[in-house]
Symmetry: C2
Subunit: 289 residues, 2 copies
């Protein structure tokens, strides 16, 4: 953001360039005062106008927009912003932005690049430990007051020696591999094509990867190709003792299939940072440990 | 256990040596059938007799005992077992066993050595990630159905660059350091004396270590010297953004001081696998996130 000069956005006659923000950008809260000095921030979320009216009123002159996670930028939205030159998203994923339309309109799109990769990787490892060692379920057990009455909590499972499959060995996947290696797990991966720079075994097929792993960690982007890539077949290949962790996008997993596998004990557990229809989480998932 | 020959325990006249087990050894459940073939297991937890009567009846000829976590072996208990030659505990910690009395009586004591070190280290890292990235509190948030109504969950804090102080650089502490290093944390430690074999800065004083760290991970044994070693002064030195993780023994932390610091926001959070008076957990702790 610091490199974004306001004159690049066509500042004319002393007026600040207009930047549209549709949803409240919580991650940017601390930066808004500074941004306000350099840009005319059009905060749709503070306006009493419905979004369509807001765009009809202010959309014509908007030069740039800031998207927070959950803001969908489709062809229809872009058509209401004829002066749009730049989309900045606070997310690493671009699945909610119609990239081919942006390409056609020559609108630049900037995401967070690798800024969040380490944090996503930390969380992925945290969720894997959580599911295997039953951290949150142990927390619920203790908080529910069950320890004195029910006695010992069931044992967890160790990380050491576990075969972990990383789905998508991009900047997040690489960071996950680096961390997981320190726990004595063996690593293999699936991605669009094998990476020459890594020593881990490559599987071109997610199902085959799952069949050879105790845990899958989903780190790939959500695209038309990866939507529901982790389906019932993959989960069954992972098996009864298998664990799936998703820190990417909910829809990479077929959530209905996941719920069924969890309910029926066809896999051991799941550590989910994302869901298919956020913020709505299937009731069956919430009822499981 | 496999090396424990029954004849070493004074098997005479074809009778199997008597082994006392006071509390149900859940971690050994799968091994009991095999042990039963080689030893006469005296399971006090299955007897209708009060423990004193049980020991008065059977204690005289007991050669060995198996202790599970929570079994206290004090001078009084040992005095009721005049033939005792060996204590085997399923725990790494020996804080519940009166070692000086065992030494005087020439009773051998075997613990789990380093078998659990990797698992304890995994959990320590899991709890650190959990507190910093708010995993269990996020889990509660989602399960409580708060996501659709309250919107975004507060952001967590990254591990990268955090200064982590390890209290007790034994076999568990070393394994924690190895894992934490992969997350880009810087490591320093406190122990009885500096270790020549490690590259991490040493602090002879826990309070000084805390003052120079963002997180403390307690990995030391509970002894008379370490009881309440992490007191209010240490927690205040750790500071408002500080996190404490305890996978050792509850009583190493002054729990009352910890609760007060958490309630008053004098430290950021705590990841606790152990408590001072297990299985009883202070109500104030349960009410906190």
């Amino acid at each position: 953001m610091a490199d974004l000069q306001s004159d690049q956005l066509g500042q004319a006659g002393g007026r600040l360039p207009q930047v549209l923000i549709i949803k409240q950008p919580i991650a940017l809260d601390g930066y808004l005062p500074d941004l306000s000095k350099r840009f005319d921030l059009l905060k749709a979320y503070e306006s009493p106008l419905p979004i369509d009216d807001f765009l009809a009123t202010f959309g014509k002159t908007v030069k740039a927009m800031i998207c927070t996670r959950g803001t969908r930028v489709d062809r229809e939205l872009v058509s209401k912003l004829p002066s749009l030159e730049l989309i900045v998203t606070t997310s690493a994923g671009l699945n909610l932005i119609d990239l081919s339309e942006c390409c056609r309109r020559r609108i630049a799109v900037a995401n967070t690049g690798e800024i969040f990769s380490a944090d996503c990787a930390d969380l992925a490892v945290g969720l894997l430990i959580d599911v295997l060692r039953k951290v949150t379920s142990g927390d619920r057990f203790v908080r529910a007051g069950a320890w004195p009455s029910k006695g010992a909590f069931p044992l967890g499972s160790k990380l050491g020696g576990k075969r972990v499959g990383i789905v998508g060995l991009g900047s997040i996947g690489i960071q996950v591999a680096k961390r997981i290696g320190a726990f004595g797990c063996s690593i293999s991966y699936n991605s669009r094509k094998p990476k020459a720079s890594v020593p881990y075994p490559f599987y071109s097929n997610v199902c085959e990867l799952a069949a050879n792993c105790d845990a899958l960690i989903i780190c790939c982007a959500l695209t038309a190709q990866t939507r529901h890539m982790v389906n019932r077949e993959v989960l069954l290949a992972l098996g009864k003792d298998g664990v799936v962790v998703n820190i990417a996008r909910g829809a990479i997993i077929d959530e209905k299939a996941l719920v069924r596998c969890l309910v029926e004990g066809e896999i051991r557990g799941a550590g989910l940072d994302v869901f298919e229809n956020e913020p709505n989480v299937p009731a069956e998932l919430l009822s499981l440990d």
